[in-house]
Symmetry: D2
Subunit: 452 residues, 4 copies
């Protein structure tokens, strides 16, 4: 679909290639070739027929425009491909084309093959993003910064911990994608009603053979009208874009002119036509934009699950379109976040400056717990509230008020107060959690490379 220059900006060219018209046709032809191979192995059709038909299972031989025209007339994208394959195959071999299969087998299995390749591409991109996150997490393990909740300063954290949380989410995404590839991307082979009637009683034996031939999972039974599998695949895919958007939004918020804690390295040219000074986090913004373009497609796919009888009246037919949109928009978010992170500059000084912006107020919880060990938490809270009020009233900073407060001094030594006001002493299990996240991501990556 034409979406203008804008559509070309917020996309993923490699994913576009996987979901092109030609790729879809090729995927359907891959099914035909695999079916022929299995049928000839089992003696259902002659070996020469399989070999001969196989030669024409190549999308290069097919004219896309005429396939589209015929598909519109027939209301199915499979029949024109099969018809053309029959036309191309010489002589009587044509009799064996598409033997026993139906439209939905070829379309559904073709989509599974495209999804498999598309998910491969997504995993590569997510690994690249996760690698950067892990590197940043390790490097900035102790780079203290303000933790923020509801757009306000909360308590300290480190930039490393933030990056490790991004990495962990990516690791979980990748694990789910791997599970899709291993278990859910299954061959569909059953015909209109899932009986495999044309093969007599031998049909069900063909299912695992066909699955193996195509490197797809073998289903328990045909799923032509039971779309739970598709709904699940869409649902898992639907989490990619918002996970990327989370990273991008963090980058955007930390890049704000007033915050300035990170920023994408400027390229050779200004990022604003009218405003030469402006320095936008362009790639992060692009990720958010792509995520908004990815939203809703998973839901739209789930809304098509309620098939009418054995084949739906419109819902199923548009699944490949919705999947292409979901995959391509999701891929675009991964690309954009990767670009953003690759050029990300981190400004620890700005992080430190913002930490100090409230004169120690960000350490108030820390002071409460330091005091609580001596006087109980209720009393501790009251003492801190009084210090906050004193700071507000006097215009001096909170740290100074805490240090000057005789009731606090009665409980904590100057050294204990200093410690309670020191963000680097109030990081709890940060380092442990960073390690755990990096390890989780590494394991995920290892499981992929072991697998291949």
């Amino acid at each position: 679909m034409n979406e203008g220059i804008s559509g070309l900006v917020y996309t993923d060219p490699q994913m576009e290639a996987i979901f092109s018209a030609k790729s879809q046709v090729q995927s359907m032809l891959d099914f035909e070739a695999a079916l022929n191979n299995v049928l000839s192995q089992r003696g259902v059709i002659p070996q020469e027929a399989a070999a001969e038909i196989g030669k024409y299972c190549n999308a290069d031989y097919y004219d896309m425009d005429s396939l589209v025209t015929r598909s519109q007339e027939l209301g199915t994208i499979a029949a024109p491909v099969v018809a053309e394959l029959k036309r191309l195959v010489p002589g009587s071999y044509t009799d064996w084309v598409h033997w026993g299969a139906t439209t939905q087998d070829i379309v559904d299995t073709g989509l599974m093959l495209q999804l498999h390749r598309g998910i491969e591409h997504l995993i590569e991109g997510l690994h690249a993003v996760g690698d950067i996150c892990c590197t940043l997490a390790a490097e900035h393990r102790n780079t203290i910064m303000v933790g923020r909740g509801i757009l306000q300063h909360a308590i300290p954290t480190t930039f490393g911990l933030k990056c490790s949380q991004w990495a962990l989410a990516i690791s979980q995404l990748v694990r789910r994608l791997l599970q899709l590839q291993d278990e859910e991307l299954a061959v569909q082979f059953g015909g209109v009603t899932g009986t495999l009637a044309a093969y007599g009683s031998d049909g069900f034996d063909l299912v695992p053979l066909l699955a193996a031939e195509l490197s797809l999972a073998a289903p328990v039974a045909p799923w032509q009208s039971a779309r739970e599998r598709i709904g699940y695949v869409a649902a898992v895919l639907g989490n990619i874009a918002p996970t990327m958007a989370k990273i991008a939004l963090d980058i955007g918020l930390l890049s704000q002119t007033e915050v300035g804690e990170v920023g994408e390295a400027p390229g050779d040219s200004p990022t604003s036509s009218a405003l030469p000074h402006k320095r936008n986090s362009v790639s992060a913004m692009r990720a958010v934009a792509a995520a908004r373009s990815a939203a809703n497609h998973a839901g739209a796919i789930q809304q098509n699950m309620a098939t009418e009888n054995e084949r739906s009246f419109g819902g199923w037919q548009v699944e490949p379109v919705l999947m292409a949109r979901l995959m391509t928009s999701s891929g675009a978010t991964v690309l954009a976040v990767r670009t953003s992170l690759e050029s990300l500059q981190v400004f620890p000084d700005a992080m430190r400056r913002n930490l100090e912006l409230t004169d120690g107020l960000i350490m108030s919880e820390s002071v409460v717990y330091a005091l609580a060990a001596k006087v109980g938490k209720a009393t501790a809270s009251n003492l801190v509230k009084e210090a906050i009020a004193a700071a507000a009233a006097s215009g001096t900073g909170f740290s100074q008020c805490v240090r000057a407060d005789p009731d606090i001094s009665a409980q904590l030594t100057a050294q204990e107060v200093d410690r309670a006001l020191d963000p680097s002493r109030y990081l709890g299990s940060t380092s442990h959690f960073i390690d755990a996240a990096i390890e989780h991501f590494s394991e995920t990556k290892r499981s992929v490379s072991d697998d291949r």
Copy 2:
């Protein structure tokens, strides 16, 4: 975006053209040209500059690939177009290009121009659909058929009334689209913050001039960050697809093998690859498919309305993509319904056969009201319930049981019973409502042609 063969099947080629990359660039250049004209009329820039710049406001001169690459780097699709225009314009005239305007002015106004043309195209298609509906409504004014509720027989209606209800919904859609064109498709001209700062205090005077130059509405004030207008346009457009889906679903349900009351005339070739006998309502199915592909885009656009400050961080940037999807998918539903209706065959005999399928049960409400006039409705209901039970118990038809029931005969003459059992006597205000719907549609059409 590539959506495979499937995407090419469920689309609207004319709408694709309106939302192509080149069309989007041209629309942005149309803004630039119009701005120059207005500025030169007002003496802000030299007339020769406007004339010279105007020559290069032609998308043919622009390389789409390089615009895309630059747009990705800059995070804006406007700046590269403006930069290229500056490069093309000879000598010092380049100084006057894009004088005082900013990115969002050109992108938003460009989108409005595309929407205007797209809505024009939608209205043409809807008029064609509505014309057929009105013709069918008039022709089948008295073609009695089963009215169905919750997938069960309810009471009689006529096929003409059904078609008139389709026409009325279309007429209302078109009126809303016309209102969009007249009032909501407005020029955006205000700069990043809506101040028109670069024009000093004269900026606001330019707004209506620019609107007139572009044949768009003039807004009360710039709306760069107040997207209520866009949300409203999307919401109105979002009603097209489900309205088309309603017609298509009716055709599908009436075409079912067991119902057989309408059907798309078969083309030269069978509509099923494996099943030579099958006769699908292909175009109606395509309309439903396209409607499912159109769903959710309006909602996605509304979710982008909450702009961050004066320009959003991703949401706004993807609006043209979402609008292209919404417009193109909606256009596809109109096309498919039109094709379906153009070949629609109506089978009054089948309608009559289905009416008689329940041996008169479909007239039970009619008999109740005939009796109610004599014995009150409570008693009437009871008498009819007894006749229904008797019919079920005896296996004879309801009509026969009513005629044979002495309690009923005591109240109604045989002629009155016949009348109560005659569907053609139980159509109430059908004819009036058909006339009203046709008249409404005709008025809508007249208002369009008067207007142009």
Copy 3:
């Protein structure tokens, strides 16, 4: 539906009352009463019957639990109400209850009555919000602040202009809601198939009378299966929440600890349990939360528009649920924004401080245009870019670099430079647009009070 404490926090109690079970039943009974009045006026039923039935059209007499149980059994919420009304009405008057009407007439018209009251309530809330926006717009007409795009400083604006843009969006929302009340909230009266069969040929005359009796609009024809009207109402309503979210998001972003330009006045208690110093913009956050809870319902309603035949198999039945959610969540956003604005503190000093944060860079466009008048825009842009680079290289501010630049001094006097660097001189048509927005809102309000 139970949604926990959370559900009770993000709601609108008055709207909940309008969509309570009892209110829905009362609305259906209002239809019954009105129908009786019209029918007795026209002599279709006896006047005493209408009077007697009217006495029992009072939801106080009805047991909600038993209505729910019966509704589940019957799959319709209307039949149990009608049955109970028949049971309550004494003697033979019961014969005239619900004469000639059907389920959908009572449910649809009942919903319209609820929507009318709900929109009334929304308009009141929106007026209150708009009033505050207009007051702030007037008061802060000249309160200069940073205008921000893509989360970065862009060019100056005023807080008054921002508030006026909020007001204008509200004004447009209200106008659309008024149009709904006047034209779209129409009586449904037509029976299952829209024939009004039970009234013979006189049915259509009853439609405007019934509409008048209920103060609803009269439709061209029954719309029981043509849901374009409902889709449109939902679409218009769907814009309320994102418009409120826009205001709330602006407040949230301006309230950030590092920005600090506005803030909700703190109440008597801290807004964070653990962090005594934290000062959240709680009401703005609540508005965003409610807006996210409001999202998608409009889309869900539009997806129900494709009715099967004359009455849908599930889609229509759940419309009142989805409308209740849409209205209540939307109402909650209005309430929360109102609360936020009522306590909003504006900090012009912080606005000024942030304006100065970049040492004049925010005025770079202004300097470009000042120079452009002398040397052309291309040269002007280059001079300013050099000044920006010089500022970055030397660490001195941009303003200072501009003042010190001999090439600039050659073109602009010191006074002209000062002027170009002064944000208050670069506000263009700000004041004009503020006036226009306030006037638009005032007109909208006047049209409401004139109308009532």
Copy 4:
């Protein structure tokens, strides 16, 4: 939220109880009690404090109205509960309440506990539905019926196969729900920024202990701002409603007056107020309605995943509301389908009648394959097309034309023709697939009971 009588009809009362205000408060208090137990085991707080605090972790002691009011003021539902718990706990024990934890720990973990119970309830319902499907599958293994595609007759299937496909989808749903319970419903424990700062370096050791105490999974690290987990849970849950809708839609379509192959057994009362004869599949319709009310919530939850910094500005806060809606609506679909299936009547005679409706056309593919074995598929297809044309032209049935065709007789004996026209001989692997589906469902059920 009030949703009128309609809302009470399309709901699941047990799920409502799990997501009531009191249940939510109790779940939060369960977290507090568990935290105390773990902290006292580890010696962080005194054992007596834990015991004493535990006594007040009982929602009966809490006033819901006042919790709501405080929650609105504070913008958090946790703080008021904690404050009230502190008020209730006597003496200095109050110092140990909520030691080291923050708002999000209590709210997120509370939600997980509610989800765990809710999923338990869903699984019970799905098992009941699946049991019926399996029984029907076994019973109707050989009940031949028309298989339908695109609302047209396609080739034969059996009602048993259809029911087995329903069962298999349910089995897959249940497996995913079990995986959620085992792996994804995890404790959240990390504080605002995920550092567990208040526990010094010992915090991370507490996480698995707390998880064990609450019978939830232990996460790799806190996930307060990494909502991929929540998005995934929502996505899996989002598949329940459409899977139920598929079953319900099949029942609705097969119940149509003209089809009549199944029907819900009528209750004691008619299902239509005005139409005494009408027999609606009320429960199936209710399932479709509930599914439409369930749609979009999963998507809405995914759209909240992009948290701002360490805690979101509105998105997270409304998660419990959206989850309650998703769970309750989904539960309603399960309930309604169960009710529908429990009363489902199957009419094999009608299935047979519809099979014969097209005089054997439904066997055309079968005849093609019988002939193809002799003359090749291309020739076979042509022969069958000729027979179809002959049948259409002559008005005699397809079977008769096949039997009378000399070219066909030249290839197939009369017995072979009979066999090719016999639907019971064209069922392929139907029985195998039924067995496989039933076995899959049984295994799923066994795994649940083994587990508990």
